[in-house]
Amino acid sequence: MKRILIVDDEPHITRVLKLYLGRAGYAVDTAENGQAGLEAITKNAPDVLFADIQMPVMTGKQLCFALEEQYPERTFPVFVMTSMMDREHREWTQKISNLQFLEKPLSMRAMTHALDKYFDAAIVAEGAGNV
């Protein structure tokens, strides 16, 4: 079972994500800010990370840069959840490897679609490696 870590301080978002991701067959862990997220990753790296940007203690942006620094070999992708309205994050996110956007308000379809696409591609890549 693929493991997804959701880092978000808004319980209504994590609840919805947890419910829909659970239904889609993923194991879901949550953390309520970047710091807690980083600790959870240190203990056990997930297959996919979902991160909000605006959070207390440690923002999603800080979390991403901390990951770049501490885990330069990181293979799991980061899905950054950002508002459709603001484009200001488009710049710094370019410096982060293996990063995608999920636009808020979140679409569960778009999200599961993005995950399916990612894991399909990952399977193809693995398969190619075995040849």
Binding site: R15, L19, M84, M85, K104, P105, L106, S107, R109, H113
Partner: protein, 501 residues
């Protein structure tokens, strides 16, 4: 399913609760409706008690008693019922229960179990509500996502309305992951669609015909959303016969009348359309129909504007039949120049109206002057010179044209400052005035007047060349020369006379 609803219940808490009430350790047992242990020690004794409870088949609420062997007694109570029967059971067993427990203690245990059952029921209900609300919230996010995405799309797209409409359909097809999205409004002959094909649809034309025909008629009668998933749905005898696609068709109701519909179409291999799809389709339908109505309204306003302009021009031409077609020709050539100069869209719009209506002020010139076949006296010529300012006076009442009127007002200015009405010079003459002046000069030479036949293209171009820099802006004359050098089709269209080379 029924077991899941107990999944998140905090049973250890109820165990502590029971221990406190009873004053001693009393093991709590939770069974599902089949008597299988859900929580508590899964011992052989527990399994036996579970089966015994189910076998007893007690339906009533309240506390029940089951004597277990070796002098042990189980007290049990239902955890409530749902549509599909019992949800499960709560039980306790006390060693040597029957022998030394006082009736007071039994009452205490009974009360505690009553409370625990009620507590579990409340918690279960809350958790259940929470899941339902979370589910609902997820669907609302989905709708909001679609609406925001459409809104962003509209804000970011430039260009004409129908292109935005098309790209909205396209993004909807991709977002909803459906093979075809169509917006159908047969009364206005609208059937726009976008595809995000999972597989080829070889008969898409026929599918569209079916949509705007039988499907639309069916929807008008049924007046509700049609969700056609199964290939053997009996309704396929009337609609989409021999077309085994999954169809979700959603009417748009305005003033209690169905005026359009949104159709989503998928190949059979895709999942069935759900209630969630239906809500999204309805959101989409309302957005698109709002846009479509706005678009049609804009079209009819634009039509109205054209007709009003046409009417004004007819009024001028009624006074002077010899100028028939002059406004249209000057307009046509001005737009050619404007486009060749790369003017932005809103500027072209202003040039459009300014050039079309540049001579409207001639309405104010007495017929005796306007249509005089011989040379004008100085006073008569003064009357003529009034007309650009008169054009301005007439058109300034239309706020939409406030930038367009400059072209009309200043089309008789001359580049060297000797023109009228204001004697502006060079760059001080509004650009549209300088543009309109060139085709105005050209057309006045090449078209026939009361007192002379129209002269040739070559004569006109020679004259324009001669006055370039004095009467006309040389930059615009150059643009015009480049245009005519390509022998454009309008030379024939306007029946311009040519000199044989």
């Amino acid at each position: 399913m029924s077991d899941e609803i107990f999944g998140e219940i905090d049973f250890p808490r109820y165990q502590r609760w029971l221990n406190r009430s009873a004053g001693s350790e009393v093991a709590l047992m939770v069974f599902n409706k089949a008597g299988v242990t859900l929580w508590g020690e899964d011992t052989a004794q527990a399994a036996k008690i579970g089966l015994a409870i189910v076998a007893a088949g007690t339906e009533a609420a309240g506390l029940h008693r089951h004597d277990v062997d070796a002098g042990k007694t189980a007290l049990y109570q239902s955890l409530g019922a749902a549509n599909d029967g019992q949800l499960g059971w709560l039980a306790v067993v006390a060693d040597h229960f029957a022998e030394h427990q006082t009736p007071v203690l039994i009452d205490q245990l009974a009360d505690a179990m009553e409370d625990i059952v009620a507590g579990i029921a409340d918690e279960r209900r809350d958790k259940n509500d929470l899941v339902m609300m979370t589910d609902e919230l997820g669907q609302r996010y989905e709708e909001l996502h679609l609406v925001y995405a459409m809104d962003e799309h509209i804000k970011r797209s430039e260009g004409e309305n129908h292109k935005i409409f098309q790209s909205l359909l396209q993004s909807a097809a991709e977002h909803l992951n459906v093979d075809v999205v169509a917006f159908v409004q047969p009364a206005r002959d609208v059937c726009q669609y976008a595809t995000s094909l999972s597989q080829e649809i070889h008969n898409l034309d026929l599918v569209l015909v079916e949509m705007r025909g039988d499907l639309y008629r069916f929807l008008q009668v049924s007046a509700e959303t049609i969700n056609l998933n199964a290939a053997d749905d009996p309704r396929r005898a009337y609609i989409f016969t021999d077309m085994p696609y999954k169809i979700l068709a959603c009417p748009v109701v305005t003033d209690k009348k169905i005026e359009s519909m949104i159709v989503l179409l998928n190949h059979q291999h895709k999942p069935d359309f759900t209630n969630g799809d239906r809500k999204l389709a309805e959101v989409l339908a309302n957005q698109l129909s709002g846009m479509s109505n706005t678009y049609l309204l804009m079209q009819s306003m634009a039509e109205f504007n054209r007709q009003m302009a046409r009417t004004l021009i007819e009024a001028v031409e009624a006074k002077d039949p010899y100028t028939r077609g002059h406004s249209e020709r000057v307009h046509y050539l001005s737009m050619e120049i404007g486009r060749a100069m790369g003017l932005p869209a809103d500027d072209l719009e202003n040039l459009h109206w300014g050039s079309l209506l540049h001579d409207v002020g001639k309405i104010g010139i007495p017929d005796a002057v306007l249509c005089k076949p011989s040379r004008l006296t100085k006073d008569e010529y003064t009357f003529i010179k009034v007309h650009p300012e008169r054009s301005y006076d007439i058109l300034r009442h239309i706020r939409h044209l406030d930038k367009a009127v400059l072209g009309a007002r200043h089309h008789q200015e001359m580049y060297d400052g000797t023109g009228y009405p204001h004697g502006l010079k060079g760059e001080h003459i509004p650009l549209h005035g300088r543009i309109i002046a060139v085709p105005d000069t050209y057309d006045s030479i090449t078209s026939s007047r009361a007192y002379r036949a129209g002269r040739s293209h070559e004569v006109a171009m020679a004259e324009i060349e001669r006055v370039s820099g004095s009467q006309l802006d040389p930059v615009i004359v150059d643009v015009f020369k480049k245009i005519v050098a390509t022998e454009p089709a309008w030379l024939d269209l306007f029946k311009i006379r040519r000199d044989k080379a």
